[in-house]
């Protein structure tokens, strides 16, 4: 009898513990969506800076074109695609899944970069 009680307690503790972890994750995700991490990529001198940006899942990344020439931000795998960005125009994309997202400027394809979401 005693033994089965302790098992029940243990199971309850485990369930509670898992629940806490799960809730923690949910809480974290919800928090990230409400207040995305500030992540910026600047387009300067025909290049993306930083060329590789690492962000957490749920982060919104904003690209700003600081060149005198228009550029675009286009995912190589078709995940996102900005309209053409003239000087000082911005494009924002929210990354909800982990992975590596290579992208380029479809007008000047030598310009490449990637966002690593983890």
């Amino acid at each position: 009898m005693r033994r089965s009680v302790s098992i029940a307690v243990l199971v309850a503790a485990l369930v509670t513990g898992m629940g806490t972890i799960a809730m923690g994750q949910n809480h974290f995700l919800a928090g990230a969506q409400e207040k995305p991490a500030a992540t910026e990529v600047k387009i300067d001198n025909f290049s993306f800076g930083p060329a590789t940006l690492t962000v957490p899942v749920g982060a919104s990344v904003t690209w700003t074109n600081r060149d005198d020439i228009p550029h675009t931000v286009v995912s190589t795998d078709g995940v996102f695609k900005s309209k053409v960005l003239d000087t000082d125009e911005k494009f924002t994309f929210t990354f909800s899944k982990a992975g590596t997202y290579p992208y380029f400027c479809s007008i000047h394809p030598k310009m490449t970069g990637k966002v690593v979401v983890q």
């Binding site: 025909f46 005198d68 053409v84 000087t87 380029f104 479809s106 000047h108 394809p109 030598k110």
Partner: protein, 322 residues
């Protein structure tokens, strides 16, 4: 620079002061103004200031046309807040030529942001040019956001695919190619399989003696691949043109004058009517070069090409707007 041309002749095959196989390097920086006359598939070049020294025959030929490029209508930043004004200046220059050219070739980047009003403004200004026929190929700035749909609607009448076409004038065969669509990450300009197939077929029927003029926006030779100044599959296109004795390739995109001869092919890039770009590798990026206002017109320009029928000669003249 023009004075240097003679020094670069490696072997004078025809005893005419021109090296057919060698490299005729005439990097006439926008602003110096270069006149180039092609004979037997080779380009001779003169500085604009030497135009009066040319005989009328040399200067005119039987067919003359003008190349303009990179109007970038809508651009309004330093060094040129008035790209409409400098395009008008180019038109005035065209209208001042002693004999009106047959037509105008525009090698792309008509607009800066593909906006309808930008195209409208260019159309309006070019209506003021004596030659009423204007032939266009798109630049990457003309096909933003819609993969070139608007460009095709406006300028693509009678063209194939994404807007490529050919026509004949006084025995010369002109080919307009599109190399600014479907660009791949990390890559250069692209012609694509469909267009290359069309080109192969288009030139099949022509006699080898037919002078060929190819025009496209991005250079069809590797000017500076690090800045994307070249076309991935241009070698395939040039292979189809190998059999011809005289091939001239006219491009824009790099906003400066460069020429080179490779065998039977003369490559030539034109100035922009809007703003200059730096020499390859001489700046952090190929962004607009900011020059003092009083210098601007000396780095913008038009290209005047003359073809002398029967001699297979083409003359390429670059004049600045100053």
């Amino acid at each position: 620079m023009a004075g240097k041309v003679k020094d670069e002749i490696l072997y004078d095959h025809n005893h005419d002061g021109i090296d057919r196989r060698g490299f005729l390097k005439c990097m006439a920086w926008a602003g110096t103004g270069a006149l180039c006359v092609m004979s037997g598939g080779v380009l001779k070049s003169y500085s604009l200031s030497r135009l009066p020294e040319l005989s009328p025959k040399e200067a005119m030929g039987e067919l003359s046309f003008v190349q303009i490029s990179d109007s970038h209508m809508g651009f309004n930043k330093p060094a040129n807040p008035d790209v409409a004004g400098t395009l008008k200046a180019a038109v005035n220059k065209i209208n001042a030529l002693s004999a009106a050219p047959e037509f105008v070739l525009h090698t792309g980047d008509i607009s800066h942001l593909s906006k309808p009003e930008e195209f409208d403004t260019v159309d309006q200004i070019l209506k003021g040019a004596k030659p009423q026929d204007v032939f266009y190929v798109p630049g990457e700035h003309d096909v933003l956001n819609d993969d070139g749909k608007q460009f095709l609607e406006r300028y693509g009448k009678g063209s194939k695919g994404a807007g490529w076409y050919s026509f004949d004038k006084k025995g010369a065969h002109f080919i307009g190619l599109v190399n600014v669509l479907n660009l791949k990450a990390g890559g250069l300009g692209t012609l694509g399989h469909e267009q290359l197939e069309w080109l192969e077929d288009d030139v099949k029927r022509l006699k080898h003696s037919t002078p060929i003029v190819v025009f496209a926006h991005i250079p069809l030779w590797s000017v500076y691949p690090e800045w994307g100044w070249g076309t991935e599959d241009s070698a395939v296109a040039l292979a189809y043109l190998k059999k011809f004795g005289s091939v001239t390739v006219l491009n824009g995109h790099i906003h400066q004058v460069m020429q080179k001869v490779e065998g039977n092919v003369t490559f030539h890039t034109a100035c922009s009517t809007a703003f200059p770009q730096p020499e390859p590798g001489k700046a952090a990026s190929p962004g607009p070069m900011k020059v003092p206002a009083e210098q601007l017109k000396s780095v913008l320009g038009i290209t005047d090409v003359n073809y002398v029928q029967g001699q297979h000669a083409l003359a390429v003249v670059d004049s600045t707007l100053a």
